[in-house]
Symmetry: C2
Subunit: 118 residues, 2 copies
């Protein structure tokens, strides 16, 4: 493996920076089942404000992971969808999600052990 993983200027950092925003991964996964309008995304996700969702989608678009479309006949309607590139990121994201599903309680246990409940 020639990934040279941990160097600060390594290309792997590019992806880690992508995941360095709270909502990026969440929104990406919320788009996995197909295009969605912002209001749908907010329903699916829960707990994300309109403004933050917009910002997140903007970032994802900027990185070529998400595409924004408005039907020609319904200019007021807006849809976001994963680009082919964005779809390729779902695999690694699933790997991370699966890890959390499997080891999440261990992390939480470590946290509680670190700060004992008074």
């Amino acid at each position: 493996m020639t990934t040279d993983a941990f160097l600060a200027d390594c290309r792997a950092r590019l992806a880690f920076d992508l995941l360095a925003n709270t909502w990026n991964a969440v929104v990406l996964r919320a788009l996995r089942d197909g295009p969605a309008r912002p209001v749908e995304l907010r329903e699916r996700i829960g707990g994300i404000s309109s403004k933050v969702l917009t910002e997140t989608l903007r970032r994802l678009r900027f990185n070529g992971l998400v595409d924004r479309r408005t039907p020609p006949d319904r200019p007021s309607r807006v849809e976001y969808r994963l680009t082919p590139l964005g779809r390729t990121l779902l695999g690694p994201l699933d790997a991370v999600g699966a890890w959390a599903f499997e080891h999440g309680d261990e992390v939480m246990a470590a946290q509680e052990a670190a700060c004992p409940r008074e």
Copy 2:
């Protein structure tokens, strides 16, 4: 798959939050080859200050991913190493890194297309 991936309060968020810090993933991968002292880590990583490295290691310890040891005979010497739990995260991290290695140029191309060089 019952991951319920994108919900805001899903367990997957736990891992995404772990990766939501700039240096967490980098430091974890820097520890993959075995225990290391802070000065070694800084050499391996490059571009990280002593303070930020300390903070990052503190976070990783708090989440049970990293262990800190000082040899009984050399109290001044400090070593950090991955815990078994932390080691299990290397796999998903590699998946992300491999993705960057494969698609990094596409992301960069999208970025440049978004903000045309003057």
